[in-house]
């Protein structure tokens, strides 16, 4: 969906769905996940349909994701941090 224009120098290592992922420092969680090719962030609590970031500016609350064990965090507002644990909210 989105790609980088150029390579960055600084990166951080986050843990996404249990796997280590190197992402550019300074990105929001939403940006980092989108550019890594992840297009589904959660399943809607009402119908289970797949949802992903929409407005990218903190208004719509679509990009909710679990960060460090706390659910329903806005991924587009949270900057990535070293060893941050991120899990999608998809019910089994």
């Amino acid at each position: 969906m989105f790609k980088k224009q150029y390579e960055s120098h600084e990166s951080v290592s986050i843990i996404f769905e249990g796997k280590r992922l190197n992402v550019e420092k300074g990105l929001t969680v939403a940006a980092a996940l989108l550019v890594s090719g992840n297009t589904v962030f959660r399943a809607s609590v009402v119908s289970g349909e797949p949802r992903a970031p929409y407005c990218m500016m903190g208004v719509c609350f679509e990009c909710l994701i679990e960060i460090d064990g706390i659910p329903n965090q806005r991924a587009c507002m949270a900057p990535v941090r070293e060893a941050m644990k991120i899990k999608r909210q998809i019910k089994p």
């Binding site: 609590v45 706390i70 659910p71 329903n72």
Partner: protein, 375 residues
């Protein structure tokens, strides 16, 4: 002026008015339900959805029995509505708790429940105190706060989705031929020997019977047909959180977890006239107490809050009154419109339509307020 006729005109589209109107069309009556314009003062959209007996009616035995009878009618009442409309009421009769923090609250609760039991002359009132240990075993999925000392548990209690209840009754009422006239402001009521003429800004309604269930407007409307029904507003504020997995399976008077997983938190009792604003102090007070009871709540996000005005009579118990001056006009008010919806739509309707006066009904007459004052 649009002229419309009916057997019964009900003024008030809140839980009480709609439950009466609904019950009446089910009996085959031709009913017009008039609803007001100002939607900010409606208790029917701002309540906790409890179908409750536990704390109701202390000192008025007739009312205690009335509440118990209502909860016994509720399961069938809910099932009928769901079948008629296809809407889920999420009604559950699990029994209800009132959780105590500290020894003093626990002791106070013991005394209160004793008083309630004494008020239940039939002895049917079924409520007991449970220890902290028992309470925790009833709630295995969530940790109780350190200060929780125990609770009272009442077997009659349950809860419902009050918004869906209102919607379902209104929908079924209209489906069964009831006429719903919203956005009305009642300006004048005339009563003659065999009919009532109700004038709003746009309509003139004629009816053989008139039922006033106007919430906080009841006093003013009832006066127009010779009845004195004092009601005052009392504000309550409520917090609603995001959804989470269901861990709290009993309703209480201040915390309940809705069917969809969101938590609703209350309660407050404020005499602030007609002010429906929320306040930082009260929201914080409610949040603090809820966290003392269930510490894990602190991580849940608060999404919504609201404030609504309870409709209270001087002793907080119902008034069911037929006008002496204008027979055929009735005033109905109660702050338990949800809990009593089952009995309002049946027994009260029989009183209004078929003149079947329930036993001990005079206890609900507002002259009791004058008696209390005289004393």
């Amino acid at each position: 002026m649009i002229k419309e006729n009916a057997e019964v005109v009900v003024i008030g589209g809140g839980v009480i008015g709609v439950s009466l109107a609904y019950g009446m069309v089910k009996k085959g009556a031709k009913v017009i339900l008039i609803d007001k314009v100002d939607n900010r003062l409606t208790a029917s959209r701002g309540n906790f959805g409890l179908v409750w007996v536990q704390g109701k009616g202390k000192g008025m035995p007739r009312y205690v029995e009335w509440c118990i009878e209502a909860t016994e009618k509720w399961p069938e009442f809910a099932e009928n509505l769901e079948t008629e409309t296809g809407f889920d009421l999420n009604y559950e009769k699990t029994g209800g708790l009132e959780i105590c923090l500290g020894e003093e609250e626990y002791q106070e609760r013991i005394n209160f429940i004793e008083g309630m039991s004494q008020s239940s002359k039939s002895g049917r009132y079924d409520c007991e105190m449970i220890s902290r240990k028992e309470l925790q075993s009833m709630l295995p999925k969530i940790k109780l706060g350190k200060e929780v000392s125990g609770a009272s548990f009442c077997y009659h209690d349950g809860c419902v989705n009050p918004l869906n209840l209102l919607k379902a009754m209104n929908s079924s009422f209209q489906q069964k031929g009831g006429i719903y006239r919203p956005e009305q402001t009642v300006e004048n009521i005339e009563c003659s020997s065999n009919e009532f003429k109700i004038e709003t800004g746009t309509h003139s309604f004629n009816a053989e019977k008139l039922v006033i269930a106007g919430g906080l407007m009841t006093t003013k409307l009832a006066k127009m047909v010779g009845m004195e029904v004092p009601v005052i507003p009392e504000r309550g504020q409520i917090l609603v959180t995001e959804r989470t997995s269901r861990v709290f399976n009993y309703p209480t008077g201040e915390i309940r977890q809705n069917f969809d997983g969101s938590f609703m938190l209350g309660s407050s009792h404020e005499a602030v006239d007609y002010d429906t604003e929320t306040s930082y102090e009260v929201l914080q007070k409610i949040a603090k107490r809820a966290i003392r009871i269930l510490p894990n709540l602190k991580n849940l996000q608060l999404i919504r809050s609201w404030a609504a005005l309870r409709v209270l009579t001087p002793d907080q118990k119902p008034v069911y009154l037929e006008s002496d001056q204008c027979p055929g006009a009735y005033a109905i008010t109660s702050h338990s419109g949800v809990s009593l919806a089952s009995i309002h739509s049946s027994v009260l309707v029989e009183w209004i339509i078929e003149k079947k006066i329930p036993r001990g009904f005079t206890d609900f007459h507002p002259e009791r307020f004058n008696v209390q004052e005289a004393i």
